[in-house]
Symmetry: C2
Subunit: 599 residues, 2 copies
């Protein structure tokens, strides 16, 4: 079993230097988010994640969840760990104080979330879904529903779920068939089957609050006829105590490739007369409410890729520093630990640099989301939100695809032992595989980036990003330091590829839609690659500043510059390749139908 | 469960147009390898693989192997399938007629092997290992041992294993500690523990022939003191009947990420007094003998990546043609099957084109190995062998890394269902993960390409390859057909990147070893990428010829050209990126020790 030690130093560096955390405490509502507070929280979170959650990661994978006559049971230790999590108040960290939360910024919350997920992804999904449900209630629930449910969900006394998918309705939510019948008392009876419901049932809390997408009787077809309902597992009495069992049951759980300890439920609503539910917000606006939560949810899933990559990196590094094989090819030293072998060093550095690049992107985006709430000026808030929304498909698509590749390198460093489940390296890779699928596949992220985030303001937000990348490349070039100039040179070339590909897309968006859609994912990879270089470049500049001033942990800053340059050498050259592929569009296969795939 | 239909049409196209199969029947010994014979064999192999082996793939994965008091038991149906495999004579297809084999060319055998592996990789490993052991005996066994063992191993009545790895000796075989004590009767007693022994024990045959690497008492340290021993599970009497149980036992089996139905054994030799074994060949030359088999073994593992990619492609295609989600973005048609969506088309084409490119490389290499045996002229034989040996790390490294990526795309096309084990898509991805590790990791393939295959003749073989790639690019350019010219243009650019990177390596091999070693894997990827384009370019030229002549399956040839161009657009631009990374060497991290990895 591998240990997990939260990378607090890098987290703090990214928060302070790249995500603007320090400035946040000057905004109304964030006064408590001081550096001292952050240090205390991160220290305690690192302890909890490393000591309580990390040891359960492998045992939970092995044991999995079980569906019994009385519902889903979680693996040994899960209930106790959840109780600790809840009692320590972790659940409400970034929720509003009005309902018992601590109201801290997401820029701090994201580091805590990363730790939870690195330590134990399957565990972290329960709280993640609950947070999503809390946001939905904050957005659209009536004051009455808020009063009944929010405090207990924010404290973690109850958990929440999101019920979108049906067997025939995955990425295409227009096909949802679940229905809700209005009752005389203003409630609804909900009927339908939902699949892939994370923590749809479990034994960690007394109640579960399901948010369910369903259609009202008179609803229009398609996505504009979907409403959102709150369906509790147990009805709640006026005094807050639990009442009757509601007609909402987990009827089976999936046998999955990964995250075995996270119950993925098939939920049956209304098989015994109707599940009592309450309309959230207005009729037919369910999808819209869902999309409001989507920013946080997608950022959270991108973070999962980062968190698993970090865990895999730590584990592979531990093994490489311990395992002895072969001679040092350069010095000739006999029987060295494998972290001395250049190809193992290459893999470890790829893991490290790609995780750090994506972490910076994700935390920066969190910083933007905080600013979108607290900035005084409405224009500035909108600008921050647009920037954040531009970054979100990049973080989600990039973080998750990176997570799969980096956890795979973790297996590779272990060699044959990586293929043995007891090692635990393979689990990270298996767990990672869902992240490019749920909360919108990579293809959906790419379309979101292209057709929504890039085109909705005719590239205005993209131009802001391009300008910042350009400024970073320029600052690196002007630094007078060869190691930074090398990064700046590659970043400049990569940015040119990104802008050219963007221009090609804009020029072809109307007349060559098939080509543009074929180019969407390569374009996403291009954006991820360049943004990674941008943030590593900024990190290198910040690190160089501290080295010049001889302030702080000099070894950390030297490593940061080497890591940034490694990223530039290994990853940034791919920008031109992606751009070439983008601009090839679908020329090779345009006009050919599905017969193309026949052998 | 998914079906498997062997891609006989593409296999025959590759054999005939790219691997020179047709010419082989004109060589002494291969007279029977006619086109008609090949058609009959491939048809029957396709039937056996599709009908007998493929249905056992998922059930075998689910059930796995078990270690009982009487040894390892394979999953339900395994014994019966193996009996059919053996009785039909598949095992001896390419083995010498002198010992009961059919003596057919590898260029035909490779297609049959691909089918076995696509249908059921876990099953195919038993025969693969047996073939390796047969080759070892052919290379170095005494006539007496050959007489006792070869015929039964070639017929498949007995299987064979290869015992290299020990817990402390994985990639570094110099560390092997197993030992062999000479006995008065000329035999040896073998002592030691071996791990990761594929089909080290099973219930499909009455006997198992273990080839074990061990040290003689007076052996020199390191790799030059390793000898090879034959250790039967049951002793063999003079009349060929089985005698006493030998002291060679499976003491545990591994719980693995994939290939669950292939027993991976920890073997204990000599725990009860000594396992009786026989020296193969001369003392201390065991590793050398092992390396003679390495060509076939590594080609076989490269083929596994291709075979799994093909299976995953067929499965994903079947799903994509069935699953309806969303509107056709281009035509506006409502609720279409997902194979209409551009990003799904992109993924399917990536799968198809990468599998076909690697298949062509692998079969071409097989054609070279056949020629290295049958060509009349010794110089020509050596040239064919050197070319084959140059290609082998490219096929092994490229086929296996491709297999992981392509099976991952298969999961992605399934969306959420891909993460559910019942679908079977995830199994291909899990199964593929071992292929970049065993028979030499990708890093070891890269070093083999660089330090052995590229440098041993000062780049002479590489220059032959470069010349052929150049000729292909030129022919594409001279074709007068825009779709071929587009491929030729990209291939020319990619070749330039490959030659430049090769020159950089040659120039730095002595003075910058750390950088060259860091560049090895990116260089391997570069070689794979360009070679893929080379073969797809040749395939497109051949296809265009048949289109011009209006001969044969015109749809197949049109698809082949589209597939080749798709490969060129999506994959070839990466050549420049890899070259840039190669030439960056280890500049970013040179001089930094393991403290570099600290957070």
């Amino acid at each position: 079993m591998s240990e997990y030690r939260a990378p607090v130093k890098d987290m703090r560096f990214v928060m302070d230097e790249l995500a603007g955390f320090k400035e946040l405490s000057s905004f109304p509502g964030f006064e408590e988010a001081t550096v001292d507070m952050a240090d205390a929280i991160l220290e305690e979170s690192a302890r909890f994640s490393g000591e309580v959650l990390a040891p359960l990661n492998r045992t939970g994978d092995k044991e999995g969840c079980k569906l019994t006559a009385s519902g889903v049971t979680t693996p040994n230790g899960w209930k106790e760990a959840y109780a600790q999590y809840r009692d320590a108040g972790w659940n409400g960290m970034t929720s509003p104080a009005e309902f018992g939360g601590q109201g801290l910024p997401d820029t701090l919350g994201i580091a805590v979330k990363e730790m939870l997920c690195s330590a134990n992804m399957a565990f972290s999904l329960g709280p993640l879904l609950t947070t999503g449900a809390v946001e939905a209630l904050l957005t659209c629930a009536s004051d009455e529903l808020k009063a009944i449910y929010l405090e207990k969900m924010i404290s973690g006394e109850w958990t929440g779920t999101m019920n979108l998918t049906e067997p025939h309705a995955g990425s295409d939510l227009a096909l949802i068939r679940s229905r809700a019948e209005p009752q005389a008392d203003g409630s609804y009876k909900v009927f339908g089957q939902k699949i892939f419901i994370t923590y749809g049932d479990h034994d960690m809390t007394e109640n579960i609050v399901h948010l369910v997408l369903a259609r009202l009787p008179d609803a229009p077809a398609g996505v504009k006829g979907i409403s959102m309902f709150l369906v509790p597992k147990f009805m709640v009495n006026g005094d807050g105590s639990l009442g009757a069992r509601n007609d909402a049951y987990c009827v089976s759980i999936e046998h999955k490739l990964g995250i075995h300890a996270s119950p993925t439920c098939v939920m049956a609503y209304g098989d015994n007369g109707g599940a009592i539910g309450y309309l959230l917000g207005e009729p037919n606006r369910g999808l819209e409410y869902m999309f409001i939560m989507m920013n946080e949810a997608r950022l959270g899933v991108g973070l999962q890729g980062i968190a698993l990559g970090e865990r895999a990196y730590q584990q592979a590094l531990g093994y490489a520093r311990d395992r002895k094989q072969g001679r040092d090819a350069v010095t000739g030293e006999a029987l060295v630990t494998i972290d001395k072998h250049p190809d193992i060093r290459r893999m470890l550095m790829l893991m490290k640099s790609r995780v750090e690049a994506c972490r910076a992107m994700a935390y920066y985006t969190s910083g933007l989301l905080d600013r979108a709430h607290v900035l005084a000026d409405a224009e500035e808030r909108k600008k921050a939100l647009y920037l954040a929304e531009f970054m979100i498909p990049i973080v989600k698509g990039g973080g998750t695809e990176m997570g799969i590749e980096v956890t795979s390198l973790g297996v590779q460093i272990y060699g044959g032992m990586g293929f043995i489940e007891e090692t635990g390296a393979a689990q990270h890779w298996r767990d990672s595989r869902i992240t490019t699928i749920y909360e919108g596949t990579t293809g959906i992220q790419a379309n979101d980036l292209l057709f929504r985030k890039l085109m909705r303001d005719q590239g205005a937000t993209a131009k802001i990003v391009f300008g910042e990348v350009y400024a970073t490349a320029k600052a690196l070039g002007a630094s007078g330091k060869p190691e930074l100039q090398a990064i700046g040179q590659r970043l400049g070339v990569a940015l040119k590829a990104w802008t050219e590909a963007t221009e090609w897309l804009a020029a072809n968006a109307k007349t060559g839609l098939g080509g543009v859609l074929t180019a969407a994912v390569p374009y996403l990879h291009l954006a991820v690659t360049v943004c990674g270089g941008w943030f590593m470049g900024k990190a290198a500049l910040a690190a160089a500043g501290y080295l010049d001033k001889e302030e702080g942990d000099q070894a950390f800053y030297r490593n940061k510059i080497a890591t940034a340059r490694f990223y530039a050498d290994q990853m940034l050259p791919q920008a031109n390749a992606y751009a070439a592929t983008v601009m090839a569009g679908d020329a090779a296969i345009a006009g050919l139908g599905s017969e193309l795939f026949d052998a």
